[in-house]
């Protein structure tokens, strides 16, 4: 069964939905993934990303829709017949089996004889650099090593599709960076599709060829990391991409892409964000700016007045938190240490400000 699925050109999700009682965890997910792609499903917890992954793996039946591997419908198959590799958030290593037995389990279940299985297990262990730990039980390994065993176990069967469910969330920061590179390297070596679920935008940006941002069970935006980072189409997505400042105002002018807002008497200009039109003069809008791009300046026409509430040193620059005259919380960057309680003017280059209008919340 898995052999026939091994070579394929595309994976297609067609209106995949999943309900839990009256709650729609996943709504009408449609997505085409080509062979060799690394796709990240990104979203906050409860957005349906794990549900989507479990539906693809066959661990959760879909409520509506279908999943296709080329011309073959696979959502009607059980997880054991799909032949996908899955890496679980808690690794799910078999505690009573050695590393070697864990990695060899998939081959054993496929009835592959020992003579053929042994070199494949060796190769998978070498890929994750764990040859020396083969005889140990999972409980004797560190978290990072356990994670690598979980990856080796999933890839040893050379699956057409590798599914990863927040695989790095239980590791410390340094190990996470190392494992990111390993995962990318392993993906390149396999040449298969990897679908990676995460709530960490840094992981998604650094790993994926394409990012699917989910919110409330729906796709908010699909695009390359560069597209999502520069031009998030929704305020939600912008939030995820580090646009931490959300400044409400009223549109006072518009010249093609450039929108000018009145924010409590101050003027703020930015680029029209999102795909939806709108943003007529007099309507409400929200400007989104990264803390990195909101600078403390001495005098500016495109800026807001605020009072510094906290400031901290982050190596190259100072990052601060301020309260605008209208009461909004602002996060900004400064080249000097500003006194808490002092007045500050905060400005941003209009090209770094995204304005989302009422039709595009």
């Amino acid at each position: 069964m898995s052999q026939s699925l091994a070579s394929f050109q595309s994976l297609r999700l067609q209106g995949v939905s999943r309900d839990f009682g009256s709650h729609n965890a996943l709504k009408n997910l449609t997505l085409d993934i080509k062979r060799g792609e690394f796709v990240a499903l990104l979203g906050p917890s409860g957005c349906g990303k794990s549900t989507a992954l479990n539906c693809i793996a066959g661990l959760l039946p879909t409520t509506r829709g279908s999943i296709w591997l080329d011309q073959r419908r696979i959502d009607t198959l059980g997880p054991e017949d799909r032949g996908f590799g899955m890496v679980f958030q808690n690794y799910a290593l078999f505690p009573h089996m050695t590393v070697r037995q864990n990695v060899g389990f998939g081959l054993k279940m496929r009835g592959i004889d020992k003579a053929e299985a042994e070199p494949r297990i060796d190769k998978a262990l070498a890929t994750v650099r764990l040859q020396s730990q083969a005889a140990k039980l999972p409980g004797q390994l560190s978290g990072g090593q356990q994670q690598r065993v979980a990856i080796a176990r999933a890839i040893v069967v050379e699956p057409p599709l590798v599914l990863m469910d927040e695989p790095l969330s239980n590791l410390d920061a340094k190990l996470r960076l190392e494992m990111r590179q390993e995962i990318r390297r392993i993906h390149a070596g396999l040449g298969s599709v990897t679908i990676y679920v995460t709530h960490d935008q840094d992981e998604a940006l650094s790993l994926a060829d394409r990012i699917v941002v989910l919110r409330d069970g729906e796709i908010r935006q699909v695009g390359t990391p560069e597209q999502l980072y520069a031009r998030p189409a929704h305020l939600d997505v912008a939030d995820f991409m580090g646009f931490r400042n959300r400044i409400s105002g009223v549109v006072t002018g518009r010249q093609s892409e450039l929108v000018t807002l009145d924010v409590d008497g101050a003027t703020l200009s930015g680029m029209a964000g999102g795909a939806a039109p709108g943003g007529d003069v007099g309507t409400n809008a929200v400007a989104a700016v990264r803390p990195d791009d909101l600078l403390a300046v001495s005098e500016t026409t495109n800026g807001l007045s605020a009072t510094v509430e906290a400031i901290e040193y982050r190596g190259r620059d100072y990052f601060g938190q301020a309260r605008s005259s209208g009461g909004a919380e602002l996060f900004f960057r400064s080249s000097s240490r500003l006194g808490v309680g002092s007045a500050v003017r905060l400005g941003a280059d209009p090209s770094k400000v995204l304005v989302f209008t009422g039709a595009n919340p």
Partner: protein, 300 residues
């Protein structure tokens, strides 16, 4: 100055003791220790001592010699095992599939409550109920007769099967609840991981669940067995206490309260304990052949 500082550097006895886990909180175990000594250790040791002082005072091991020379007495070991071992095995084998189903259910509490009821009712009430239900004039026989399935009532009480059935009924909830706690203690993502690796339900059970369950099942078997081995009320009420269900506790009871030979009764109790210990020891020793670590899938 130096003398004073060395004295001050010394860690107080109280802190040294607490570093070894001995502090005021440790005193809280005293009531329990008192109860254990008063209600278990002392009676046990006294019984042990008493068993070596037979009524006739001839030989120190006279009671044990008598037990193993009289068929009426030594046969009770085999008779009790013949009831207790199959009952325990059947309860355990029945509990495993039920536990596997119940593990996936949402209303576990309702079912658990229903199952605990037979335990709270006690063996005597269950025995009385079974006497009526399974007796020659009971519902079961009447129904079978009515539909012509049998021509004369099936004898299910006052023999081996009466005791057997009552022990299954009263023992199952206990066995089941223990089994359920072990089954639900296994990380469910292990099964899902096995499924994505191509293992079908039977393989998942054989390669994942069973090896992780065996230590728990061994303990469950031991506890259920000890319960069944000490059967007394149902062996008298539902069995044939003079014949095939003359279990070892009946022999001890007769020695103590019919012959008034407390010494022999104590010796029988000691033999009973030894047989139980032997079976439990055997099961727990074989458990050492299997994996005995945590049943979860990792997380550093």
């Amino acid at each position: 100055m130096t003398a004073a500082s060395t004295r001050d550097d010394r860690i107080p006895l109280r802190m040294r003791l607490s570093a070894r886990g001995l502090d005021a909180v440790t005193l809280l175990v005293l009531p329990a220790v008192g109860l254990m000594v008063g209600l278990f250790v002392y009676p046990f040791l006294y019984g042990f001592w008493l068993s070596f002082h037979p009524k006739d005072g001839l030989s120190v091991v006279g009671n044990y010699l008598r037990f193993f020379s009289e068929p009426r007495l030594y046969e009770t070991i085999a008779k009790t095992l013949w009831i207790a071992l199959p009952v325990t095995a059947i309860n355990l084998l029945a509990a495993i599939p039920v536990a596997f189903r119940v593990r996936l259910m949402r209303r576990q509490r309702l079912l658990t409550t229903l199952l605990v009821l037979p335990i709270t009712l006690g063996t005597v009430l269950v025995a009385e109920g079974l006497l009526n239900y399974l007796g020659p004039q009971g519902w079961l026989n009447r129904t079978l007769l009515l539909f012509g399935l049998i021509s004369s009532p099936v004898k299910l009480v006052h023999n081996y099967w009466g005791v057997f059935l009552s022990l299954v009924i009263t023992g199952f909830p206990f066995t089941f609840l223990l089994t359920l706690s072990y089954v639900t203690g296994i990380d469910p993502t292990l099964e899902r991981a096995a499924a994505t690796l191509g293992a079908r339900a039977a393989s998942r059970f054989r390669h994942i669940f069973l090896p992780l369950l065996i230590p728990g099942l061994a303990i469950t078997f031991c506890l259920s067995f000890v319960q069944a081995f000490s059967v007394f009320p149902s062996a008298i009420l539902l069995g044939a206490p003079a014949g095939p269900t003359r279990v070892i506790s009946i022999a001890a009871y007769e020695a103590a309260f019919e012959e008034y030979d407390y010494s022999l009764a104590s010796a029988i109790a000691m033999i009973m304990a030894a047989v139980q210990l032997a079976i439990v020891g055997l099961i727990l020793a074989s458990r050492g052949l299997f994996y005995r670590g945590p049943a979860s899938g990792g997380k550093g």
